[in-house]
C-alpha cells in the first residue's frame, strides 16, 4: 500500500518535473518577450508542483531519500512521467500543442484529485488547480490564435496537433497502482476524465478551425519507465550539476 502510494505520487511528480524542465528551455528563447516570461512562469508553476509531490513522496518513502534525490539522482527508467511531457519543444506551435493537451488533462485531474481521501494529495491539488486553470487558458488561446491565424500558422499548428496526438492516450493509462488506490478512494479514475478531456480539446480545436486527428495508434510506456529517445538528453542536462558536484546546494 505504502509503496503504491509512493509510485503514484512519483508519477504525478515526474510529469510536473519533466514538463517544467522542458518549458524552462524556452527561457531566453521565446518568440516574444511576453511569451518568454509566460513560459518560464508556467515552468516554475510545474516545478513548484513537482517539489510538493516529491517532498510528499520522500516523506512516504521514509528511506532517507530527499525530494532532490528523486528529482535529480534517478536513472532514465526510474522516471515514470508520460511520454507527452518529455517531447522536445520544437517550434512554438509544437510546444503549444504539447501544453494544450497536457494542461487540459492536468486541470481535470486536479479537479478530481481534490476529492482524494489522501489529505496531502488533495491539498496539493487545491493549491495547484488555480495554476492549471491559467495554463489551460494560455495554451488554448494560442491554439486558437495559431490555428485560426494565417494559412501558414494554421498548417503548422495542425501538423503539431497531429504529431503529438499519439501521445495523448497515455494520459489515461492506468494499472494495478491506480486500481488499488482508486478502491481506497485515493487515486483518480482516469477513465472518467476521457470524455471531458476530449470535449474540451474538440471545443478549442473547433474554434481554432483545426481538425481532430483521426489516428488511433498510440504510444505508452512512460509510466513503466520506458521512454522516447529524447529523454536521455533531457536528463543529462537536468542532472548535470548534481552529477558533476554531488550534494551541491543552490
Amino acid at each position: 500500500m505504502e509503496n503504491k502510494l509512493v509510485t503514484y505520487t512519483l508519477r504525478i511528480a515526474d510529469d510536473s518535473m519533466i514538463l517544467g524542465q522542458r518549458l524552462g528551455e524556452w527561457c531566453g528563447h521565446g518568440p516574444i518577450l511576453e511569451e518568454d516570461i509566460a513560459m518560464t512562469n508556467i515552468a516554475l508553476d510545474y516545478i513548484g508542483q513537482a517539489t510538493n509531490f516529491y517532498e510528499y513522496a520522500a516523506t512516504l518513502a521514509g528511506n532517507g531519500k530527499t525530494a532532490d534525490d528523486f528529482a535529480f539522482l534517478r536513472i532514465e527508467n526510474e522516471y515514470t512521467n508520460v511520454l507527452l511531457v518529455e517531447q522536445p519543444n520544437g517550434h512554438y506551435g509544437d510546444t503549444i500543442a504539447r501544453q494544450f493537451f497536457y494542461d487540459i488533462f492536468r486541470k481535470l485531474y486536479f479537479e478530481a484529485l481534490l476529492h482524494s481521501k489522501d489529505e496531502q494529495l488533495a491539498a496539493i491539488a487545491e493549491k495547484s488547480l488555480k495554476e492549471s486553470k491559467y495554463h489551460v487558458k494560455h495554451s488554448s488561446e494560442w491554439v486558437i490564435r495559431l490555428g485560426d491565424g494565417t494559412d501558414l500558422s494554421h498548417e503548422r499548428m495542425q501538423t503539431s496537433i497531429n504529431n503529438l496526438w499519439k501521445y495523448t492516450d497515455e494520459l489515461f493509462y492506468m494499472d494495478d497502482v491506480d486500481k488499488e488506490l482508486i478502491e481506497k478512494g485515493i487515486a483518480v479514475d482516469l477513465d472518467t476524465l476521457r470524455k471531458p478531456w476530449l470535449d474540451h480539446v474538440e471545443m478549442v480545436l473547433n474554434r481554432a478551425t483545426l481538425e481532430k486527428p483521426s489516428a488511433t495508434w498510440n504510444f505508452n510506456g512512460g509510466r513503466k519507465g520506458v521512454h522516447t529517445e529524447h529523454f536521455g538528453y533531457l536528463l543529462a542536462e537536468m542532472q548535470y550539476m548534481q552529477r558533476a558536484y554531488p550534494g551541491m546546494e543552490w
Partner: protein, 95 residues
C-alpha cells in the same frame, strides 16, 4: 520582442480593491485579450495586481509638452486650491 504588426498597448494595474488603476508600462499584443494575458505574465508576477486594464496607445489623447507652460504653470501660484487648510477626519484612508 517588438513586432511592427502588433499595436502597442498601455497597461494599467489596480493593486487592490478600492484603489485606482495605475499605469505600469506598455507592451505589444495582437488584441486586447492577448494584451491582458501578456500583462498578467509580465506585470503581475510578484502579486502586484487584482485587476488589469489595457488600452491601445494610439487611442490615448495626450497633452502637448510644448504647451506645458500655459497649461500648468498658472496653477503653481494658487496655493489656496490645495485642500491643506482642512482637517482630515480620523479613519479616512487613501486621501
Amino acid at each position: 520582442m517588438s513586432n511592427a504588426n502588433w499595436p502597442l498597448f498601455e497597461v494599467f494595474i489596480r493593486s487592490k480593491n478600492g484603489l485606482n488603476h495605475k499605469h505600469v508600462g506598455s507592451l505589444r499584443a495582437a488584441d486586447a485579450p492577448m494584451a491582458i494575458q501578456n500583462a498578467r505574465d509580465v506585470y503581475t508576477r510578484r502579486g502586484e495586481g487584482t485587476s488589469i486594464w489595457v488600452v491601445e496607445s494610439n487611442l490615448i489623447g495626450a497633452s502637448d509638452p510644448d504647451e506645458a507652460d500655459e497649461l500648468y504653470e498658472p496653477a503653481l501660484t494658487k496655493v489656496y486650491r490645495h485642500p491643506t487648510f482642512y482637517t482630515v477626519p480620523e479613519g479616512i484612508k487613501h486621501m
